[in-house]
C-alpha cells in the first residue's frame, strides 16, 4: 500500500516535470541570427571601396557575435583589430593625398586581409556565443522544475512532520487526561 502510494506520487510528479519542460521549451531559441547585408558605405577608388566594404562586413560580423552573447574580452580583441583597419584606411587616404599610391595600395590590401580575418574570428565567436547562450537558457529553465520538485517535496514532508507532531501531542494529552481520571476514581 505504502509502495503503491509512493509510486503514484513519483509518477504524478514525473508527469508534471515533463509537462513543465515541454511548456518552457519554446522560450529557448534554436536558430542563430541571420547575417546582415553587405556594405559599401563610402565613395572612393576601387581599392578603398573594397577595403571599406570588407571593413563594413567585419563590423557587422562583430556586432552579430556580440548580439549572440560572445565573451566581451574576445570582442575587445576583435574591436582592436577593427581599429587597426580604421587606422590603415586612414593612412592609405593620407598616402594617396601625398601621391604615394603604391604604398596606399599595400595598406588597403593589408586592411582587407585583417577585415576578412576578423569576419572569420567573429563567426567562430558568434557560434560559441549562440551555443553558450542556448545552453545557459536551457540550464536556467531546466532548473525550474527541479527547484519546484524540491519545494513540493519539502512542503509535503514538512506538512507530514507537523501533522504527526500535532497528533502525538493530542494523543499524549488524552493519555494524561485518562490517567488522571483513573487516579481520581481510585
Amino acid at each position: 500500500m505504502w509502495r503503491h502510494g509512493l509510486r503514484m506520487k513519483i509518477g504524478s510528479l514525473g508527469v508534471m516535470l515533463v509537462a513543465v519542460v515541454l511548456m518552457t521549451s519554446p522560450c529557448i531559441p534554436c536558430e542563430a541570427p541571420v547575417l546582415g547585408p553587405s556594405s559599401a558605405y563610402l565613395d572612393a577608388g576601387d581599392g578603398f571601396d573594397v577595403a571599406r566594404e570588407e571593413f563594413g562586413k567585419a563590423v557587422l560580423a562583430v556586432r552579430e557575435a556580440e548580439a549572440s552573447g560572445a565573451e566581451p574580452i574576445q570582442l575587445g580583441l576583435l574591436v582592436e583589430r577593427l581599429n587597426l583597419v580604421v587606422g590603415m584606411i586612414g593612412r592609405a587616404e593620407q598616402l594617396v593625398g601625398r601621391g604615394e599610391v603604391e604604398e596606399a595600395a599595400v595598406q588597403l590590401r593589408r586592411s582587407v586581409e585583417v577585415s576578412r580575418e576578423v569576419v572569420e574570428k567573429a563567426a567562430v565567436l558568434r557560434e560559441e556565443g549562440t551555443r553558450s547562450t542556448h545552453y545557459g537558457r536551457m540550464l536556467s529553465f531546466g532548473m525550474v522544475p527541479v527547484a519546484s520538485l524540491l519545494a513540493a517535496l519539502m512542503s509535503h514532508f514538512s506538512w507530514r512532520w507537523l501533522r504527526r507532531r500535532e497528533v502525538e501531542r493530542i494523543m499524549r494529552s488524552e493519555i494524561r487526561e485518562g490517567k488522571g481520571a483513573r487516579e481520581e476514581q481510585r
Binding site: 506520487k9 510528479l13 546582415g36 574591436v79 580604421v86 519546484s148 512542503s155 506538512w159
Partner: protein
C-alpha cells in the same frame, strides 16, 4: 484518501512554484529595453568645460594654438563604428538640423573614426591653429588651418571682420540596415543626431 490530499497539496505547491520561478527566469534572461544614445562633448585645454580659448579670449590670432579635447561615449548597447566630422563654419552657413537630420553644408576639416565597444569612451586631443587668414576689405577668410599637425587649406569660409567663425563637430555612424555612413544614428524606429559647435573670432590676420 489522505494520500490523494497530500498529493494534491504537493501538486499545487509544485505548479505555483513552477509558475513563479519560470516567470522570474524569463524576466532575468530577457534583456530590458533601454535608451540607445551617444554622448559627445568638447572640453577645454584643462579637460574641463572651461578655458576653451587661450586666456579665455575668443579672438584667436593667426599662429595661436588652441587645444580642446573631444570625447564620445557609446551607450548604444552594442559595438558601433563612429566618425566625428569637424567642419569649419561661419554665422551664415546652416547648422546641422536636429529635426530633418541633415548635416551642415560647411566644408569638412577632418574626420576622426573609431570602433567603440558598448559603454566605451573615446577622447582625443583637437589642437588647431589659424596658419593663414586673408582679408579682403572687411571680410576675413581662413585660408590655412593646422589641425593636429595636419595643414588644411580652406578657401570657402569667410566672415565679416573675422567674427563668428565656428567649428562644428558632427557625429556620423555606420547604419547596419543600409550599410552607409549616416549623420546621427537609428534608435529603434527613430533617427537621432548629435552635434556641437564652438564659436571663435579670427582676429589680427596677417595683411595680404
Amino acid at each position: 484518501m489522505r494520500i490523494s490530499e497530500d498529493l494534491a497539496r504537493a501538486a499545487t505547491v509544485f505548479i505555483c512554484v513552477t509558475v513563479v520561478l519560470s516567470t522570474l527566469t524569463y524576466v532575468a534572461l530577457t534583456p530590458r529595453p533601454r535608451e540607445e544614445f551617444f554622448q559627445i562633448y568638447v572640453l577645454g585645454e584643462t579637460r574641463m568645460a572651461e578655458r576653451y580659448y587661450p586666456g579665455n579670449n575668443p579672438n584667436i590670432p593667426a599662429g595661436q594654438a588652441v587645444k580642446w579635447h573631444v570625447g564620445l561615449t557609446n551607450f548604444m548597447g552594442s559595438i558601433q563604428y563612429v566618425a566625428i566630422r569637424a567642419k569649419l563654419g561661419n554665422s551664415t552657413i546652416k547648422a546641422p538640423s536636429d529635426v530633418d537630420h541633415i548635416p551642415s553644408p560647411a566644408p569638412m576639416l577632418m574626420d576622426f573614426r573609431r570602433v567603440l565597444m558598448n559603454n566605451e569612451t573615446w577622447e582625443f586631443p583637437f589642437v588647431w591653429m589659424i596658419k593663414e587668414a586673408r582679408t579682403n576689405g572687411d571680410v576675413v577668410r581662413i585660408a590655412v588651418l593646422d589641425l593636429n599637425g595636419v595643414e588644411i587649406r580652406n578657401g570657402e569660409v569667410s566672415a565679416l571682420k573675422g567674427r563668428n567663425f565656428r567649428i562644428i563637430f558632427e557625429l556620423w555612424t555606420l547604419d547596419s540596415e543600409s550599410g552607409n555612413e549616416v549623420f546621427g544614428w537609428r534608435a529603434g524606429a527613430e533617427r537621432r543626431v548629435a552635434w556641437l559647435q564652438v564659436w571663435f573670432n579670427a582676429t589680427s590676420p596677417r595683411p595680404t
